[in-house]
Point group: C5
Chain length 351, copies 5
């Protein structure tokens, strides 16, 4: 996500009249799937001729677009349904955060899918834009992911959702997306657990980078969750747009989930700060321990070195050197000094 934030030059070059895709994700080909359904029937097919998308019947329609790198295709779809140029720009500007805008003929919702990259262990985002009109929903997905695939199955199996209005489909889309965030939180919480355990057993310098990585992911998650929360708050208000009061209850449910997640993210951030403190003070403790070893050895050596030095001197009259048991007394003294110093350090609780 962080890298993607930096495609500024592309943003600067962008022009309302010829918007360009900002991101780096390239799907092989932009796929357009057209789904028509009502209570009794269901048809879904890949479309290549965009003009075929125009819905002539009274069936409910869902157009799924996957891949954003062919800006022309996106524009021609949008033109077909009379979408404002600024909305097209927003669909392609994947560096922007989630937001929601109401236009005369449609409601535009911009959301983020989150995954933790398998190789990089970094948080990766891809954009999901939703255009919500009467009898029509268009979704623009930046990358090919599993999200939304369950909804197709539900429609095909004629689940209750088929007989409900477009707002029920919108609910299913948002619910699917927000549920995905829980899976990211699951990975993070496992990493936090592992880091905490490692911290208590043996704190190594690489833990610092791990804590730092987790903190950074949490910063980005919060950045994504807050606007999502705001969008859902609006959707769960009574009499918003043409959403039925019955569905409003369900949006409030997703809204509660986002609050729950923000709560957890905040708690995790506190835990990460705590881990950082623990790590730093464990380094201080280690230095302390090393100092102790050094000091114990050095101080014990001082009197011993002095003694050996004294009896290595060449003065003419060092009487001790000629004592019969001088050498034995030296050893007794040396051992005695060592043990009394060890005893002193033990009393000071250094050993």
């Amino acid at each position: 996500m962080y890298k993607k934030d930096r495609n500024w030059k592309k943003i600067v070059d962008q022009d309302v009249n010829s918007p360009r895709y900002i991101g780096d994700i390239k799907v092989k080909e932009v796929i357009v799937r057209n789904t028509l359904y009502d209570e009794d029937s269901y048809s879904s097919e890949l479309i290549t001729d965009i003009k075929m998308l125009k819905n002539k019947g009274s069936k409910k329609q869902w157009i799924e677009v996957v891949g954003l790198h062919e800006a022309d295709k996106i524009m021609s779809i949008c033109n077909l349904f009379d979408i404002h140029p600024l909305t097209v720009e927003d669909i392609l500007n994947t560096a922007q955060n989630s937001k929601q805008e109401e236009y005369k003929n449609y409601l535009f919702i911009n959301l983020k899918e989150l995954t933790i990259g398998n190789d990089t262990n970094k948080l990766e985002t891809s954009q999901l834009s939703v255009i919500y009109m009467e009898n029509l929903i268009i979704t623009f997905k930046e990358s090919e992911t599993e999200t939304l695939s369950d909804i197709c199955k539900k429609l095909e199996s004629k689940a209750p959702i088929s007989s409900l209005g477009m707002d029920a489909l919108l609910y299913e889309i948002l619910d699917d997306l927000v549920d995905n965030y829980f899976l990211v939180l699951d990975e993070i919480s496992e990493d936090i657990d592992n880091t905490e355990d490692a911290l208590l057993i043996d704190p190594q310098p690489d833990l610092l980078h791990e804590i730092y990585r987790l903190k950074r992911i949490l910063i980005y998650m919060r950045k994504v969750l807050w606007p999502t929360r705001n969008i859902l708050n609006k959707l769960s208000k009574e009499d918003y747009y043409d959403i039925s009061n019955k569905t409003t209850y369900y949006f409030r449910d997703i809204y509660d989930h986002t609050i729950q997640m923000i709560d957890i993210v905040e708690t995790y951030r506190d835990i990460c700060s705590g881990m950082l403190d623990t790590y730093l003070s464990s380094i201080s403790n280690k230095t302390n321990d090393i100092m102790k070893v050094l000091t114990i050895f050095s101080t014990i050596s001082v009197p011993l070195t002095f003694l050996t030095g004294v009896y290595g001197m060449n003065f003419i009259n060092q009487p001790e050197l000629h004592f019969k048991y001088g050498y034995h007394i030296f050893w007794i003294a040396a051992v005695g000094i060592t043990f009394s110093m060890l005893y002193y350090f033990r009393k000071k609780k250094w050993i």
Copy 2:
């Protein structure tokens, strides 16, 4: 509590039409107790056939459900009284924080019981959901605890509460729960006291983990107290729902208690931060002390080692070696140097 936060996958799999219990606590069997009372009479029995719960008389009714792991049983009770599926989901989703929701036919309140685990010393939460209707209160407790048991006794002994409305019973339930939080605070404050004392006498590395544990418990307590405060604030507003103005005064009393507790939790967090600072600077002081010992010994040894080295050399003409009292002068010099250095360190306040 922290572990329970992580049952995300269960949340993701959850479906409004067939909600599942999120938590880990398993009561042997889900117990359903039906209590009917009014000013004059009182009857309380365990129920196995759920249809028996339907109240036909004009008596006030309290249904206590203990244990949540049999989702079917919970659902059939809720269906009997026309509870919205989303409420059932909330009753079973024990990872969610306290909240309150008004439906057409009832008021739903979701609260947390707090205990500090005997073995783990961690904060454990279990959920208590309350459904408040005209002439009926249903409580769903996640685990078998002592909470609410006193209220039964009050009803049985025909205390004044028997003759009052359902709002008085609601007050008793909330009061009992919030009073419980004080007991948790009591344990924490004792632990803080002990930690502080230990910190002043002899700061050991395990104190850091203790401070960290306390900080974490306080983070969770605040997380629980804030929404509880908001719920009680609403209940203590005049003309809220069908709560009589008289009872409103009493809700304001519990509300004041939650504010008092939030206050204390904040103060305790400040104290914990202070203890962390004290701990860290005590490590610095220790390192300092160890350094002093090392430095004193090392610096005293330098001139002595040099002297013994000098007179251990084998130069042909070292006149001192042949002085009659050379060896004695050496000893006088050695003792003199040692004492003058000790005097210097004393002056520097290192000893």
Copy 3:
């Protein structure tokens, strides 16, 4: 104050119908003083029979109660004047923070007296509750202090206050109390000054505890000042309760004083944080200085020890040993090395 915060169990056991005193302060006996006054007359006497308190004339009345440990006595006084049971609970629950509540027949104000304990050097609080009715003020003081004693003298000497309404008496009570806080601030500011001076001259580990103590007192002071500020803000609003607009100006004056004190408390907290930083970095500087001494001695000793070692060896052909001035050259070399190293350290600014 901190200790008193912990009487949770008493709070839990407390019951609206039989409230109990939460605190630890025991006055010998609960004293009840009844003062009747108007423009022309003044009478004040200690009362033992509580029924005697009922005011039959048209004089203004002030009932002073000192000591809270006899809950029965407090309750019977309150019952006499139709005080709500929750107010009685608040009077006895001295762990609660300052607050203000309006009832139909009276205004209840709960405040804190602050002193710094002579022995403990900790902030001690005792509660002062005020019940304000038409023609009657009742004050409940938790401990025997000097506060309010000046007001009696003013009434006795028939100062202008005698001829004014009850709101003037309320002003005098609050003014006396808030003025007291200034005296506490005075002690703290003196302690801060002393700590700062000690910090600049010679930072010792016990300063850390002093800074910590001051920070803690300031945390509690802020905790007391904020609700006091809010109470006075309400009282200084025009047309609040039956307080005359003229008196409102005076309440605004006390309100300004509380803001002034909150300001100062915040500034003192900033200063304390600054002192903590100074203390910590002074420890680092000390370690640095010790390290320098150690390093200077150790590094100078290295070449000298090597030299003496070399000429203490027993190789057969060490030509220097047999030079006539070998020993003198050795000394010149030793002194030369020492001085050149000292010069090097001087250049590095370590000496």
Copy 4:
């Protein structure tokens, strides 16, 4: 920018009646360019006689002034169009932050251009003031930069903007300016990346200054972005001034961009704090490593030095000295001690 903040004395000396330029940037000469355009025609010329600026026709007019150091010229232009003296002061007071003010006959917008100085690597600001009237826009640029030059070309090439109202020109000006901020962010994000990489490979003291420089630039950027955000928020409100609702959508687009940038600046500040923590703990780790080397060498030397000392003594009866293989045993002991100590340190994970 920081230096420019300090021209206080000039501000103090400034007088509404004779305002002076506060900044340090000197363009060779103040350039005044007068552009007249409508759907069909376009003329643009440099003007020296300021009276020539008065527009007599019905064409749309844009007056570009580059350079502020000739206060008289600025004043005479302003007087020509009846600009309030305080606005003139604001145009010349380049130390002030962005703001917007409505006067009876015009709208005044004060903005900042941002660049990162090639030599200094510091953030440099120059001011851009816009006066927006009916059929006339006057822009005052403090320094000669590329900004706005594209707009001239658009007008000359009769892009759609030529046929739209003055609000479209205002949009182009603001869009150009805000797009510029992205380029600054681009440079910063590259520097952050480089710093992070350097931090992971080999943290050197100069990285601290780099982190510090980046933090400072981010502080200033936020300081500039917030008021810009507020200005655009106002402009994107419906029915503000005489801006058409159609253009309002476009202002909302720039507004979204500023929010996006504030978001990123906040995230970058978090990252910088994280880098600082990493840097500081990497120093601690280094000290730790150095300590380990020192301790390992010192402790190994202690027994060896003692041994050589012992057998360098001159006692008469040291039997080991006369053993045939005494010397060989000594070497075996020395090597044995060294390896067993190395083994011990390996076990302690110090090696």
Copy 5:
């Protein structure tokens, strides 16, 4: 300023009926200057008989009082113009922060003059109170400073201000005062520059006290600027008191200046925090450097000392001692060991 904050006892003793001056500044004598002016005339004289101040004509009047220590004189002036006793108390209570109060017959504004003491280098405040009535302004200055002296000259020279209303005079007074703050900021910014430079060249312990002093001054400046900002915000609102809309523009100009200063103060505080971090980490770096020197010398000495020790031993059969070139080989080994270790440290980048 800090010292003055501590005259609490005087505040406690203060009584509304006989207010006392709280501060320490003593002007030789309280000076009262009476200035009468209109478009055509100007007279200004020192007054000793306070009754002479009563303005009988229709001229605009400005009474300047310098010095506050003679409370009686202040009171009698206030009584003459019917000023409320609480205002008199506020004029004399110089420990209070800036504020503004409206009374029936006048507007009271309380402001602070700021200077940095020449000797102490601390921020010193003195109070300036303004009473604004119809046709009359009274100013009370605590100390003799240059502030306001320019305004007299303007009036004398019949500048445009003479012909405008009293609100123009009020503007001049506030403008003069706020301009003064810029001069203080100028001194601070120069000190910050010097401190930063010193920090990069050679961080000494006394820099910590300098940073600490600057932080403290900035804390106080913010404390003074915020209420000033609020006062000016009120004055720059349309239709406030009897201030003409024309002058309102000018008050908005001063208001912008205060915001500009608050901005700068906040930025400077961030810079000070950054300097503190730099200072602390520079100490760590220093310790690190010292440790390196120590470690290099100590570790090089270990093998050398061991070698000299070995060949100083007195074993009977140490063959090396009898080699012809034993001594020379020893020297080669010693030099070789030293250089290979130096090479190792160079590779570790310690040298």
